[in-house]
Symmetry: C2
Subunit: 477 residues, 2 copies
């Protein structure tokens, strides 16, 4: 009998191995340290392993932890200030981001990790300014993180002086400083916390930095052995800038630059045509699809279907809470399936198992963690979630002639049915209780910092341009 730390037994097990969901009834997972050392039928694993602790998952589904590939966690501190408006960035979010302090942003990050973890996210693909304590927050919670410090060459005052239709000015020196700082972050954090924390390099957009500096980032990413995380065809403004500056739309420009390959995680593709999406997929680019946020902000369903049809790998991202408004992969799975059915007026498009794969194994592969996580198999990290199938919205659990668990998880699940979460073999949440952090303190701190931000915004005359002042005046908020 092999000594192990944990043996999880009697689960409806979804390993996500192979081409489907890898289901087995009465499945078990053996965990030693941070690793999965056994996966199989409960009786078999009970006879092979002597565990220090048994986790009974009867009546529960056990799945790989969910992968949220694209987030801006600090913005959770201003959740709810930017939706139902036409110019999301300028007329809703910008007056708030001006007043975000590092403390407020860190409180947002911690709130967002709590929210994600509560609903089964184990890998956080965060993309923001590397505020002090940012990476430490993920370390402290014990989750897995793939962190990208954003790089741009926009002048210090941001877009304040910019006239619609004009080219943005680019500040090469600022770009240089941000590249160096990002490379330094990558060297500090790549592989930290026993490998739980890894990094990418992230130009904020092809329109926000020069072609030379994009190439410098590409060389840096190759040298450091990390991927590139890039907002790509994210809006009509970006496309206009690219056409004006280079005479090409973003995908064609990046193709010429030699940027379209497996090292690139392209985020959004909101404005990409089907043909552009397919070109990028054929080049090996990975797509991060943020259904919730792009739906709320733009009313658009990005071209993930043609991207997949051309053989591309798609991962899901919850983006930011000021305009999504949640960071919950159950929400992203459901919206991805439903939005695509509506876009193509076809209920067979993006079935439940397909979006579940995007949130697990294909998501892991897309962000370059396919060897470590995303499925439950021997030799992978023990990142997994236990979901209570006896909640009223997930009942009944039927097995024959048609199994109902996966569609019910995707279409009826809310994320709140997740009971227990393990990352790297460590239990981070048990029966809904957080074990590594002070849940209440995280929530109180976020509320406190958010109120300070809101007070500063209210005192700033710029807030008079907020689009949501009108519904406030109408008693609609």
């Amino acid at each position: 009998m092999q000594q192990v730390d944990k043996l999880l037994v009697h689960a409806h097990l979804f390993t996500m191995q192979g081409q489907g969901v890898g289901y087995s009834a009465d499945g078990a997972v053996a965990i030693a340290g941070s690793m999965i050392v056994g996966v199989g039928p409960t009786p078999q694993l009970r006879s092979r392993f002597a565990p220090a602790e048994i986790i009974d998952a009867a009546g529960c589904a056990v799945l790989p932890g969910l992968i949220d590939a694209h987030m801006h966690t600090p913005l959770a501190v201003v959740r709810g200030v930017a939706q139902d408006v036409a110019n999301w960035m300028q007329q809703a979010l910008a007056p708030y981001t001006r007043h975000l302090t590092p403390q407020a942003m860190l409180a947002g990050t911690r709130l967002n990790i709590l929210e994600g973890l509560r609903s089964g996210t184990t890998t956080f693909g965060d993309y923001y300014d590397p505020i002090p304590g940012w990476a430490d927050a993920f370390d402290e919670f014990g989750v897995r993180a793939r962190l990208t410090p954003m790089i741009n060459a926009l002048p210090a005052g941001g877009m304040a002086g910019w006239k619609v239709g004009a080219l943005y000015p680019l500040d090469e020196e600022k770009g240089q400083r941000m590249i160096e700082s990002a490379v330094s972050f990558v060297r500090d954090w790549q592989g930290a916390a026993g490998g739980r924390i890894t990094t990418m390099l992230g130009p904020q957009g092809a329109d926000m930095i020069s072609a030379d500096q994009l190439l410098q980032i590409k060389a840096g990413a190759q040298r450091e052995g990390v991927m590139i995380h890039l907002h790509l065809a994210q809006g009509d403004r970006e496309i206009e800038q690219m056409v004006k500056r280079y005479g090409r739309r973003t995908p064609a420009f990046l193709d010429k630059l030699g940027y379209l390959d497996e090292q690139l995680l392209g985020v959004h593709l909101t404005e990409a045509t089907d043909e552009e999406a397919q070109l990028m997929a054929r080049r090996g680019v990975r797509m991060a699809l943020c259904s919730g946020s792009i739906g709320i902000i733009d009313g658009i369903v990005p071209p993930a279907r043609p991207f997949k049809e051309a053989g591309g790998l798609v991962c899901l991202g919850s983006d930011q809470a000021s305009g999504n408004n949640c960071n919950n992969m159950f929400n992203e799975m459901k919206l991805t399936a439903l939005f695509n059915k509506i876009k193509y007026r076809d209920p067979t498009v993006m079935p439940a198992w397909e979006v579940l794969r995007m949130a697990t194994i294909e998501g892991a592969q897309a962000i370059g963690l396919g060897q470590e996580v995303g499925s439950l198999e021997v030799g992978k990290k023990a990142d997994l979630i236990v979901v209570d199938l006896t909640e009223p919205n997930l009942l009944p659990v039927l097995d024959e002639p048609v199994r109902t668990i996966v569609p019910n998880l995707v279409y009826a699940g809310t994320g709140r049915e997740v009971r227990t979460v393990l990352v790297d073999g460590q239990i981070l949440m048990r029966d809904g209780v957080m074990l590594t952090i002070d849940d209440r303190a995280v929530r109180e701190q976020a509320q406190l910092e958010a109120q300070k931000v809101a007070r500063r915004v209210a005192a700033d005359p710029l807030h008079q341009g907020l689009a949501l002042l009108e519904p406030m005046a109408q008693g609609q908020l």
Copy 2:
């Protein structure tokens, strides 16, 4: 000081009075028996009322209970058997409904009430065959119900012998029996349980019964003083039948018949054109919009926007769990807002406050209960929900310059943040615990009955036609 039963204090109060959401900070609600007897600032109500019980709602939003206007609760017992397929009814659901016993259906109803109540639904607009114990189940839980026994004149064997393209045969005698039985149900239950249970008359579709019997139902509804609940333009098959039988599409046919007025709750309008939707709205018809189920089943967003623009009242419905797959009004509010933003490629369409009104005051008005529920005001029934705003996905709670509570409830809420539910002044759920029924028994019974149904389906050769057998064989379920 007036003696009252309950005083709910320190709430973020959303009365839904007026044209917006009727917000006040530190609000209170006084309840005597089943009625609201005071609404106002906490200090003021504390000085006016002497309550037997105080409910502290600090950190919580208090809203009118949510109204689910169109459901088929018995089908919750086969949740998850019918999605991601092209012919939902024939190739997924029908092989199951053949094997539903009255016990199975009743177990489904009870599971569905539990699920709805858990996520803040207080009024259930159910529409199904009146199985024994059906109305009693709602009574026992203590919720409010608006029950419609379905009426059709389809031959006993159902659509088994029907050839695509042919007119359905209509069995006038069966139609007659069903009308009489429905009228008898209305007489038995209208106003039962102290007024909590009310009824409607419900032809299943204008294509499923003769014009004469439709008129007979109309006369019956006028005589009994109840509304008519009707699947309307619900699919292309219905429209084809109507054109073939009467030379008119359903809305024009019903208009000629004198059916389009304020007494009619038209459900779905899936196939209605914008012009037809507007005609019906102008005639005073009320629309039940089932965003989740029509999205999953058909990939369609019904024309609620033109219906509203023509002055129509829209309520929301969760339809059925075999192809939605949940009965949760938070889900319906969010999907309604998002689907319409996508349909019109415009993020300003159907803002949060508008869908919240559809789930509360406008929903109540649409189903004819606007005088009793849907808003928190003196003289209305005390149906209300307490939602915990300190859950991580609903934080922060900001008040100025922009209030964030309503958008976060709609776009980030899952329904699981509902802590306490009152109907008719009675607490049905307190801090997540059901007080009127045995939660566990309801869930176990549903699981047990569902397994029996599944076993019968598996033993029936007809199940070989199930579209989901292929994904089962592929390991995708």
